[in-house]
Symmetry: C2
Subunit: 150 residues, 2 copies
């Protein structure tokens, strides 16, 4: 088992490599944004990350946070979570996994499932499209919002 510290340093290492390989400079802003995203588990929006970083980094701009998160997505450091119409939300978890989303409070919960992972892409789809992501998406009410009208 790997210690938290090492996981964290591996993460930063990965981040720096990805930047270098894509010709992006390693700026304090990008580091802060990466750290914030990597340590989050609630699939934060750009605004949420922006507000957190602002607590200690007093003049980072929202535009930078937005732009950087999209860049992270492009170079494979983050995923954009499906979230029908609300602000974009980002996911540092690059491993194959699945989502439950509460239609009431918007919470998104990751879960793993071997059967879901094993799903094959239908022939017809595979022939026509290039598939980059495969995910089962469940929707409903979370434990807190359980009752539809609660």
């Amino acid at each position: 088992m790997v210690s938290k510290v090492n996981e964290y340093e591996n993460g930063l290492h990965h981040f720096e490599n990805a930047c270098r390989q894509n010709g992006l400079s390693i700026t304090p802003q990008r580091i802060a944004i990466f750290k914030e995203l990597a340590s989050s588990s609630e699939h934060p929006s750009a605004a949420v990350i922006f507000r957190k970083i602002r607590e200690y980094y007093d003049n980072i701009s929202l535009d930078t946070v937005n732009r950087t998160l999209l860049t992270f997505h492009e170079i494979g450091l983050a995923k954009v979570v499906e979230s029908s119409g609300d602000p974009k939300r980002f996911d540092p978890n690059l491993a194959l996994h699945h989502h439950f989303r509460c239609v009431k409070c918007g919470k998104i919960v990751d879960f793993e499932n071997a059967a879901y992972d094993a799903l094959e892409i239908p022939r017809a789809i595979q022939k026509k499209f290039v598939i980059r992501e495969k995910r089962v998406h469940l929707e409903g009410f979370c434990d807190t919002c359980r009752s539809p009208d609660g």
Copy 2:
């Protein structure tokens, strides 16, 4: 096999019943919005539907289109499609089906698949949450946008 006309009239019938059962009056606006949505297959946003209806209904308001589409969702006449951060998009197809979404042009394609339909909800999830929707979500490049940089 049912004729197009009958399918269509069944649709309208279903719409009117759903309204009545939910104490909603049947207004020309709602009829127009329902017809437009029901006859669409590209998972339109409120803005798209608004613009189409405007062609013949010159003073319907965008607010009404938005509000009505959300109402349709609430009373089970439409679904809101997962679409990571872009404007909400609506789906008249109430049957269990799955989605491919092009990350480049945003096109969303419905498809059917028996194996996907048959997926069971994991115990742990079922215990904790109330599941209302289950869908496989594929993402990548469509036939038109096939090449990642094209």
